[in-house]
Each structure stands twice: as structure tokens, then as C-alpha cells.
């Protein structure tokens, strides 16, 4: 399942939140990045049918057929960012009620509620009141509620918020599994780039209502093949600036160096210089662009006046 | 170490806390509701007052409306609500963490809350009664013996005393209970209404606020038997010597509440309470 946006414009009165946005969310996990107010939640609102775009179309592409998105509302599962629960309900009641509100018959909703609560790992606590859940449990309950009506597209807003490291890893693994094994399109809207790096195949960066970067994570963070990062011990080691022709070394910090290397060269001279200086290697890796660098360059380019 | 100011003095803290509570409480949406009542009721009284034909007069009309509307509904509920929000609201939404970390005495913070709530609610009560009195006073035909300005004064005192006492109760409930407003409702509807049906000399009456207020008002306006009967239908016999010292009783009750509230609030461990 694939979501396509074509020239979508969303305005609130005079203010234009999203202007002529054309992008697509392919199957698999897509990271949706952007600063606060970049238009992420407006896109989300449009997909959920809470606002109507003033221009443009939204399509759902499935099995080669293109459907207008407006007729497919029930196929979006949404996990809100804010803490949200039904005050008087138990976990099971909350999930099954929300399933019924999405149009599931009662028995189906009950059965599915049990299934998704098992899936997210709340089976022990499903008959307890949601109001008494811990932050991590509430997060799982929200995810279960987003999954209950078996939507093809899942929109997860900061799903790892408030989770401890272990629970974060579990949540991300679960998100990856949803995309891989259950064939969902997962859109992950988050500020934590490490989450996107670890689980997303594709990334879309919004700024000021426009797409500034979109592509596969692997492509965007591809290494140049020319520069390497070298870490050595002990950390106060000094290395010559050019141990051999074709190799340049630049010190970046304690024990950290950047090594420029012509593609055809081998690294033997570098190691020789290192041994001569009395140090030992700790790590050596081709310098990759991190997602943070991708993000920061893309967004800064859009912000010529750059904040203080 | 640099010489840092070690925090605000207690008196200044009380003032600051009162100012902040005042400032926050005045933004509550409930004020629109209260304002509507404050304006509509005198307007109604003014429009309809022409129909009062018998001996009730302006005096009776004003006393009845001021007592029944402001004395038993607006001032108690408004004060309890404001007090509970000011104290318990911040514990419930966990914003108390910002406050309790400041280098000031917690009791001073609480005292500031009490002053703010008492002054706001008292002010509202006085204003409401003033508006009502104004509306009734405008109908000159209701005052054959001239307008009794003293009535307004007596009721203003009652409004102030009521607000201060209810604020003390609200502050105590807010600092102590997990669901203070439910307890406040129990206090107003349960304890006070029950006590109102007891004999005039019953001890339980000392634990209420309406009873000292009643005596204060009896002292202040000296109603005739019929008016007294209308104001307090349950009282069969009223004798001036039963008035005793209403202000002292209020002072005692309010003081006790404030001390207890201070002790509850100043507990060193004020762990965040679960949201209801």
C-alpha cells in the first residue's frame, strides 16, 4: 500500500501550513521529519480527514489501483503523540471501543483487541484501568488502539516518547515487524533521528510546508568513500599530517582523526605511522553522513536567517 | 561561593503567592458564568421589583436575594472552587514541582493562596451584593422610610467573613484530600444542611460556616419575625441572646482550618498525587 500526495495545499485562514506538497509514502517504514510547525501535523490532519486540503489530491495506491484517499478513511491507524486515553476504561475496553467506533462489529472488535494487546505486550495488564498505566504501558495501549481496525497505513507520532531504553528498543522492533511481516505502511513522525536510522527505510523531511529531502535512508547516508574516521588510543596521540602520498590526517579531538584517502590507496602506511607513533587503532570506518547532518543541512538551507 | 539571595522573605512570599494565584484564578472560564449571574439577577430584581406589593419592601427583597443567592450559593461554591483549584489544582497537574523548589516557605505560599482566594471571592460577593443593593435601591417606591444603607454594609461584612472562612476550609481540603471538591460538596450539602435542621443550640452548628453567618446577619440587620422566618425557614425560635459571638466562632473555625492546612501542606514529602 502506498500513499501519494499530489500538490496538496492546506491553509488555516490566511496562513498556509502546507503548500503544494507532492510526495509519496511507500510501503515499509517512512520517517517523517521536520521541525515543530514544519507542516507534519497538517499532513497528518489531512490524511485523517480532520482538515480538507484547499487544493491537491491524496491517493491510495494498492495492487496497481489508485483510489481517492477520501473514501478510505478507516484504513489509517493513528497513534497520537500526546498522552491520550479513555479515562474510565480498561486497556481492553479502550482498544475494543475504538475498534467499534472505526466500524468493526462487536465480536470482531473484541477478538482483535485481544490480538493487538498481545502483539504490543499488554496481555497481562489488559483488564486494568488505563488511567493507572505507566507511561510505557500507555504508549503500548495507544499503539494497540491504532492497530485494532487493521489499517493499511499507520501513522505513529513519537512512538518512543517516555519509554525506557529497553522498551524503546522493543517498540522500534515492533514497528519494524509491522512493516516487514504485516505489510503495513508505517509513517513514523519523530524528532529522534536515531529511531529513524534504526527502523526506517525511507525518509521525508519537511520544512515550512515543503519537502526538502526525500529518499532512502541508506542512500542519504551513503559514505563518500574518500574520508575515514579513525579513533586511536591513547587519546593524546599525535599523528603526522601526511604519513604517505595520497593520505592526509587531520586531528578532530582527543584520539579522533579524519583520514583522507585516495580510493586506490591501501591503509598500510597509515597503520605504520600509527605504530611508529606508539598508538593502537580503536576504530576505522568510512565517514558516513549521519541523518542528523542530512537533516541539519537541508533545514538550514531553508532557513537562511538561521536562528541565534 | 558567590553571595546569592537566599530567596524571598516570608511576607513578600505571601504577597507574591497571592498575586500569582489571583492572576491565575482570574483567567478561569467560570468567571464568565459568575459574571452573568451577578448582572442578570439584579437586573431581574430591578425589573420585577415593581410587582412587590405587600410589606416586604426593598429591605426584605434585598435581604432575601442577597442571602439566598450570594450567601448560600455563589460565595460558598465559588470560594471552595477557587481554593481547591489554587491548592489542589497545582498538586493534581504537578505544577507544584516548580513552586516547591523555590527557596521560600511552603506555608507562606499557602497563606498567599488563602489571601488571594478569600479576597477574590469576598470581593465578588461584596460586588454582587452591591449590584443587587443598587438595583433594589433604584426602585425608590420600595423604600417608604428611605434607603437603608446599613443593610449593604451588614451584607458586605457577611460576604467578606464567609469568603475568608470558606477559603480556609477549601485550602484545608485542597491540601489534605485527594478529591477535595467532593468533600467540599459533602461539607456544604451534607454537614451544613444537616446542621441547619438541628436545634439552634446544637454543637454541630459551631462546626459550620452558615450558622455563625446567620447569627452575624441577625445581629447586623435585626429582621422582624417574618423576614427571619423567610431567611431561615428551619429556625422556629430566634432570640437575640443566642447570637453570642459569631465572628469569634468564624475566626476559630477558619484559624483551625488554616493551621491544619499549613501542617498538611508543609509536610516535607509532598509526592505527586495520581491524577484522579
Amino acid at each position: 500500500m502506498r500513499i501519494e500526495l499530489e500538490g496538496v495545499t492546506i491553509r488555516y485562514g490566511e496562513r498556509i501550513a502546507v503548500s503544494e506538497l507532492s510526495t509519496s509514502f511507500p510501503p515499509g517504514t517512512v520517517g517523517l521529519l521536520g521541525r515543530n510547525g514544519a507542516g507534519k501535523s497538517s499532513v497528518l490532519k489531512a490524511l485523517l480527514g480532520l482538515v480538507r486540503p484547499s487544493a491537491g489530491r491524496m491517493w491510495l495506491v494498492q495492487d496497481g489501483r489508485r483510489q481517492d484517499f477520501g473514501t478510505t478513511r478507516g484504513r489509517v491507524g493513528y497513534m497520537p503523540e500526546r498522552d491520550a486515553h479513555l479515562p474510565a476504561a480498561t486497556g481492553f475496553e479502550m482498544v475494543s471501543l475504538l475498534g467499534m467506533l472505526s466500524g468493526m462489529p462487536r465480536r470482531d472488535a473484541w477478538r482483535r483487541a485481544h490480538e493487538v494487546l498481545f502483539l504490543v505486550g499488554l496481555e497481562e495488564q489488559r483488564y486494568r484501568a488505563v488511567a493507572g498505566y505507566s507511561a510505557g504501558m500507555r504508549q503500548k495501549a495507544k499503539l494497540a488502539a491504532a492497530l485494532v481496525h487493521d489499517p493499511g497505513l499507520l501513522f505513529l507520532d513519537e512512538p518512543t516518547n517516555g519509554l525506557d531504553p529497553q522498551a524503546r528498543a522493543d517498540m522500534l522492533a515492533l514497528v519494524g515487524r509491522l512493516a516487514r511481516e504485516l505489510g503495513k505502511s508505517v509513517v513514523l513522525s519523530t524528532h529522534i533521528l536515531q529511531d529513524v536510522e534504526s527502523v526506517c527505510d525511507h525518509v521525508v523531511v519537511l520544512e515550512a510546508g515543503k519537502v526538502v529531502v526525500a529518499g532512502e535512508v541508506a542512500d542519504l547516508t551513503e559514505s563518500t568513500g574518500r574520508e575515514y574516521q579513525l579513533a586511536v588510543e591513547p587519546s593524546d596521540l599525535e599523528l603526522p599530517a601526511s604519513p604517505a602520498p595520497g593520505i592526509t590526517v587531520r586531528r578532530e579531538g582527543p584520539g579522533q582523526f579524519t583520514v583522507g584517502l585516495v580510493a586506490s590507496m591501501d591503509t598500510c602506511a597509515l597503520f605504520a605511522a600509527l605504530r611508529a607513533a606508539g598508538g593502537r587503532v580503536r576504530s576505522l570506518a568510512p565517514r558516513r553522513r549521519t541523518l542528523e547532518q542530512v537533516f541539519v543541512t537541508a533545514v538550514r538551507r531553508e532557513l537562511p536567517e538561521a536562528r541565534p | 561561593m558567590t553571595t546569592k539571595p537566599q530567596g524571598l522573605g516570608s511576607l513578600a512570599t505571601i504577597v507574591e503567592s497571592a498575586r500569582q494565584t489571583w492572576n491565575l484564578s482570574r483567567r478561569d472560564r467560570l468567571w464568565w458564568f459568575v459574571a452573568a449571574i451577578l448582572v442578570l439577577v439584579p437586573a431581574l430584581a430591578f425589573v420585577l421589583a415593581g410587582r412587590a406589593e405587600d410589606g416586604l419592601g426593598g429591605r426584605g427583597l434585598f435581604c432575601l436575594m442577597a442571602w439566598w443567592l450570594h450567601g448560600t450559593v455563589i460565595v460558598p461554591w465559588l470560594t471552595l472552587y477557587l481554593g481547591v483549584q489554587a491548592v489542589h489544582g497545582r498538586i493534581e497537574d504537578r505544577t507544584f514541582q516548580y513552586l516547591f523548589l523555590r527557596p521560600v516557605r511552603k506555608v507562606a505560599l499557602l497563606a498567599g493562596n488563602w489571601i488571594a482566594v478569600a479576597s477574590m471571592a469576598g470581593g465578588t460577593g461584596v460586588l454582587g451584593m452591591g449590584l443587587l443593593f443598587g438595583a433594589v435601591a433604584l426602585r425608590g417606591d420600595l423604600w417608604p422610610d428611605g434607603i437603608e444603607w446599613g443593610l449593604a454594609g451588614a451584607f458586605a461584612v457577611v460576604a467578606g467573613a464567609a469568603a475568608a472562612a470558606y477559603a480556609a476550609v477549601a485550602v484545608l481540603f485542597g491540601a489534605f484530600f485527594r478529591r477535595p471538591l467532593v468533600w467540599a460538596a459533602f461539607f456544604v450539602v451534607g454537614v451544613q444542611m444537616l446542621a441547619a435542621n438541628l436545634p439552634v443550640s446544637a454543637g454541630l452548628r459551631r462546626l459550620t460556616i452558615t450558622d455563625p453567618l446567620r447569627r452575624l446577619l441577625l445581629d447586623g440587620i435585626e429582621p422582624d419575625r417574618r423576614l427571619a422566618q423567610m431567611l431561615w425557614p428551619a429556625e422556629r425560635d430566634f432570640r437575640p441572646e443566642l447570637i453570642e459571638h459569631p465572628l469569634r466562632d468564624l475566626l476559630l473555625l477558619g484559624g483551625l482550618c488554616l493551621v491544619a492546612a499549613g501542617m498538611a501542606y508543609a509536610r516535607t514529602e509532598y509526592d505527586s498525587r495520581e491524577r484522579e
Binding site: 529497553q166 524528532h191 597503520f271 580503536r282 | 539571595p5 500569582q20 523548589l101
Partner: protein, 315 residues
């Protein structure tokens, strides 16, 4: 244990928790925790329920320890002196929504005994510094999550505390702001501030802190720099990825090394080794690098970051 405070000759730790325990009735939340923070950034990590939030509340004096003592800049925790010089950025969502950001921070500053005008100026300055300059006069009700977070930080730092406790300070901030705030937190020790910071995003926390304290079931399980902690875990073999031309021959060579426990072929020209006896291995590897035909192209330790250490110890 490394600390700048200890070496600078100043006798005092900024936060000094001495063998504290905390009981809620018969339930133990913290047991015998000793934690010291000098002019440095210390990260506090642990699973939820490990006692982190109890420790934080104790450190700022919202709770009293059942046993042991806590001193903040020399004052007993919870005393006015301690409260005057600590700042807390709590993880609650709520603020006074009806106020503007600048008013809220100024209100809180008032209790530190500053004049009205100074409160406002300092509040505005702090908020501007945190990047909320243009929005600080709008009511907090209209703020986004990141803007609220900045207000929370501002009220924790505006009175220039000596001890700052930041509970999940990055929540809701966008990547740009995270970077800026991270740099700002890193600079705080230069101004004489001791920082205790908690975060669940371990990759991010690692770049932020001088050392970490790991709590588990109410006890300190480990503390020190990540490398220190990692080195003290000899039982868990390191995994190192090595990329080179002709990986099969390289593997044949490496299996004979005493420090190499196992070799696995990854995809393309990459080997994954299990290694014990760290310095020797890397010395030998450096030597190997000088003579391996085609050169070693990649040497990546796979598990010496905070997240892996955390996973090994608590996972």
C-alpha cells in the same frame, strides 16, 4: 571515578548523596545509593521503575531519604539554601497555560528574591538564549511541545543554579534544537554548574555526559565513563567488525590469535570477531594493518556504546 571538581582543589561536590535509601512503607525504592556530581554532566540511566525518579526527587528535596544524607552545594537537600541553588526541569507536561512564557519564568524567579524588573529581564534573556525569543510573549497554551520544553528548561536555569537536574530535557525538541541544547548543557560545567541529566535516548545521552550512573532495582549497578564500564565487563566478549580485501585469508589468520574467540562472515567483505583481552588485540591489529595486502578498510567495535553496555548489563 573522574571529576573536575575533585581535581580543581575545591573540596565540595555540588551534589553529594551519601549512602541514601528510600522506603515507601515496606517497599524499598532506593538502597544504599552513593552518587556524587561535581562540575560535570552526569547521566542517570535505568529502566523505568529502577528508582531514577525517586533519586531525582530526593536530590532536589521533594522527598526525604529514609537513611543517608544528601547535600546540594553544601546545604542539606530540601533546605532553603539547597533549594536556592538547584534547578529542576521536570518531565511533567503542564505549565501555567494561561501565562506567557516570559511571565511564567519571571514568576518563578520572583521567589528567588529578585526584583520584578530583574526577573523579567533575566527571564527574557534566558528564554531568548534557549531560542524562544520571538514567541515568549504568547500564552503557553499555544506553544508546541518543544516550546514548552524550553520554558521548563528556562525556569530551571534562569536563577543560575549550581546544581541542575534535567529530567528528559530533550523531549519534544526537534533535531536542530536538540543539538543546540546539547551544546548548551555541555557548556554548563564551565559556568560552575553540576548537571544530572536523565534520558532514555542513550545514543544521544552518550554524547552529552562525562560519565553515567546506571540504576537497577534501586541500586547503583555501574558508574563511570562508558569506556570504563565497558572495560570492566570482561565476561562479555567484544564484537568487532573488520573489513578488508580477501576476508577468507584474513579469517584464517585471525582465528589463530589468542584474543580472538570466534570469527563470523558478514555480508560482502566483512568479518565479525568476538574478542577478549582488549589492548593486546588492538596492538596486534595495528601491526597487522601495516602489512595486510590491500589494507584494512574498516574496524568497527560494535558494542562499546552506551546502548550496548546498557543492554548487556540490564537487558
Amino acid at each position: 571515578m573522574t571529576s573536575t571538581a575533585a581535581s580543581s582543589g575545591l573540596p565540595d561536590w555540588i551534589l553529594d548523596c551519601e549512602r541514601i535509601s528510600k522506603w515507601y512503607g515496606p517497599i524499598s525504592a532506593l538502597t544504599d545509593v552513593t552518587l556524587r556530581v561535581g562540575r560535570e554532566v552526569v547521566g542517570l540511566v535505568g529502566r523505568s521503575g529502577a528508582g531514577k525518579s525517586t533519586l531525582m526527587k530526593l536530590a532536589v528535596g521533594l522527598l526525604r531519604p529514609s537513611q543517608g544524607s544528601i547535600r546540594v552545594a553544601g546545604h542539606p537537600a530540601g533546605s532553603r539554601g539547597a533549594r536556592a541553588c538547584s534547578g529542576l526541569c521536570p518531565d511533567t507536561e503542564r505549565l501555567y497555560d494561561a501565562l506567557s512564557g516570559v511571565d511564567f519564568v519571571a514568576w518563578m524567579l520572583r521567589y528567588h528574591g529578585l526584583g520584578h524588573r530583574e526577573c523579567r529581564e533575566r527571564s527574557a534573556a534566558t528564554l531568548t538564549e534557549l531560542g524562544l525569543g520571538e514567541h515568549m510573549h504568547r500564552p503557553i497554551r499555544e506553544y508546541s511541545k518543544g516550546m514548552r520544553q524550553r520554558v521548563r528548561l528556562a525556569q530551571a536555569l534562569a536563577h543560575r543554579p549550581r546544581f541542575a537536574l534535567l529530567d528528559e530535557p530533550m523531549t519534544g525538541l526537534d533535531p536542530l534544537a536538540r543539538r543546540e541544547l546539547g551544546e548548551r548543557i555541555r557548556r554548563l560545567p564551565e559556568q560552575g554548574v553540576g548537571v544530572l541529566v536523565s534520558s532514555h535516548v542513550l545514543q544521544e545521552l552518550q554524547g552529552l555526559v562525562d560519565r553515567v550512573v546506571m540504576l537497577h532495582q534501586g541500586r547503583v549497578l555501574a558508574e563511570g565513563t562508558v569506556a570504563e564500564i565497558r572495560e570492566q565487563m570482561p565476561a562479555a566478549p567484544h564484537r568487532v567488525r573488520i573489513g578488508a580485501a580477501d576476508p577468507r585469508r584474513l579469517a584464517a589468520e585471525l582465528v589463530h590469535w589468542p584474543s580472538v574467540q570466534g570469527v563470523r562472515f558478514g555480508d560482502s567483505s566483512v568479518l565479525e570477531l568476538s574478542v577478549t583481552g582488549e589492548p593486546d588485540f588492538y596492538i596486534a591489529l595495528t601491526e597487522l594493518g601495516t602489512r595486510w595486502p590491500g589494507g584494512l578498510r574498516e574496524i568497527t567495535p560494535l558494542d562499546d556504546d552506551l546502548a550496548s553496555v546498557f543492554g548487556y548489563l540490564l537487558g
